[in-house]
Subunit: 342 residues, 2 copies
DNA sequence: CAAAGCCCTGCAATCGATTACAACATCTAG
DNA sequence: CTAGATGTTGTAATCGATTGCAGGGCTTTG
């Protein structure tokens, strides 16, 4: 029963043709005669032949796979992007190799080289913290590999990237709150040093100013994108003497943490404070209260990144420095409302 | 600048040794002399050499990679398991290839063969719906590949699997509700035909009976694991004349959908109805109200599956039919309470 | 001092596919 | 009828690493 795995030689023997013909019949069907093609297909069926990717990759000098370096796989935000990458890569015959960059203390280095060389034809990097230039300088082998950053991108990277309009999203959030009548608007930021953090914060500041509102530095609370950060921020908010009546959160998860902790303390949203998030992850519409947020096209982000990477792999080199920016949209739900009169 | 990728030949030339020595110096350092090893390492450094995985895989007849077939990447439940797989696979020198089985109408077939042959050394299958035996019969090539099912497993599969104690979890959930004083307990099931659905449902029934409570068939609502299903179930609950005072939901997401829709309709949890979920995904502790649920060791699930698969790949064949079952725990939070007196 | 054993190294075969090239058959046009 | 074009096929080189085998040098032992 446990027979050998059939090779192209076996197929050729069964079909009564050469291996060259088998190979051609499978990859360029129009280049062989009808009769040969039929014989080959029958033989493939009979033997249960599946091409050996390692041999093909070696010969063709390409892996038919792309690597994805994600900071945190269990974050639903990233997994959606990965799903988008899959949607493009799969049908194009590319496998998707996923690694979590947080895995080693060293950063993603060992994993990157694990994936390196003939293993993948390129990378999509979802981790803005990762030092791409170091990665590329690591070895000649790696420096050849095309890279596309998605979502977060290192500021100085020459690699193409696809992002969303973070500043614009922040502005839409602020405008929504202002339209509702808020004037005391706070912000919980993302983690320090993250490009998303800074662009959203800048967008927040710029929006307030353009609407003629002052920026209270006290209303800007340092945070992170996760649930815990929102909880911590809620504790700070509670202790403030002069509280903002609305908070713009850097992520939906953060907003959940914030709301959760507040309601545990007897406050309610949006009565005591309006909350708006960023991301529009799936559960946001089902939170209590349903979360008003800035919706990112996460799947499209992944799809576009994959498309760009595949193009580069296939030699249609976009000029370096291509940085498309996708639009975000405001989704109004139940966590924002007009402020109650003081 | 855009030089060729260095090969082992280049390293050998620079180091002044044969390729055999380079290969040995890198994979069996103790088998070469100190001086040779030093020369090789220097040459590697100088050239920036990275091994070509395709060539190695071809020669060694192994891919140093495992495939994961998941039903839905954007579901945080699965991505946690994948993270666990990664944690074991990575340090052992294995890459992780992820595919979404929902991707093709045909099921995961094309993807499976995409991954097949020398591309991966084995699979972890997270999709219980997938017809494993068909997959294995597809070709001789595939039938050789070791497979481990995790979480969901096809009932008749001979493949080893790692699961959690779903029936036990259901029982813990019911017991908790009974302890609180509930007697009218309902259940929203998972999707039809899913093994998790049936074991949890059976566990639910068995638990009620063992505690001397009747099973109201009307209180068992058909559902799915997602948010929408919970919302639908809430609509049914609302219209019931004799309503259960507590609901055991087949997943946390479902519970969120249920609670969300109820509160939108002016009901509140746990005052009007207690709700308990299953999974304990990250956000559950931050929901409003924080969700009482059955916690699954998701990371450990992935880690164990990866360990079992790696063992099989390395020839330490567990006897076929090994099916470890991990324990689940009850996590009491705020979505359950004693029923209000009628 | 010779035989046996060990360590280290290099030669060359090998993994399984793809593909350049050449050979051959068949067809077309002059 | 023949030169040339066209279409189909097979031969064999090739991708880059690993590894069985054999040989050379050195040490140990009788």
């Amino acid at each position: 029963m446990a027979t050998e795995v059939p090779t192209i030689q076996d197929v050729a023997r069964v079909a009564g043709v050469s291996t060259a013909t088998v190979s051609r019949a499978l990859s360029n069907p129009e280049r062989v005669s009808d009769s040969a093609r039929r014989k080959v297909l029958e033989a493939v069926e009979k033997t249960g032949y599946v091409v050996n990717e390692a041999a093909r990759n070696l010969r063709q000098q390409r892996a038919n796979a792309i690597g994805v370096i994600a900071p945190d796989l269990s974050n639903p935000f990233f997994s959606s992007i990965i799903a988008g990458i899959e949607q493009i890569a799969g049908p194009n015959g590319f496998g998707v190799l996923v690694t979590e960059s947080s895995m080693t203390g060293q950063g993603a280095f060992d994993h990157a080289s694990l994936l390196a060389s003939a293993r993948v034809d390129g990378f999509v990097v979802l981790d803005g913290q990762m030092d791409l230039s170091r990665l590329r300088n690591r070895s000649k082998g790696l420096s050849q590999v095309p890279v596309v950053s998605a979502c977060e991108y290192p500021e100085d990277s020459p690699a193409p990237s696809v992002t969303v309009d973070n500043a614009g999203g922040a502005e839409k959030a602020v405008r929504h709150l202002v339209d509702l009548g808020h004037t005391k608007i706070g912000h919980i930021t993302g983690p320090r040093g993250n490009i998303l953090t800074t662009t959203r914060l800048e967008g927040f500041r710029a929006a307030l100013q353009s609407m003629g509102l002052p920026v209270h530095e006290d209303f800007i609370l340092p945070g992170d994108f996760n649930l815990e950060a929102g909880k911590l921020a809620a504790e700070i908010w509670r202790t403030m003497e002069d509280r903002p009546t609305a908070m713009f959160c850097a992520s939906d998860q953060q907003a959940f943490g914030f709301i959760s902790q507040l309601s545990r303390q007897g406050f309610s949203v949006p009565e005591d404070v309006s909350v708006i998030g960023f991301d529009d992850i799936e559960v946001s519409g089902f939170f209590v209260p349903a979360l008003t947020t800035i919706s990112q096209p996460r799947l499209e982000l992944g799809r576009m990144a994959a498309r760009m990477l595949l193009d580069r792999i296939n030699g249609q080199s976009h000029r370096e420095g291509l940085h498309p920016q996708l639009d975000v949209t405001l989704v109004v739900r139940d966590s924002t409302a007009a402020p109650v009169a003081a």
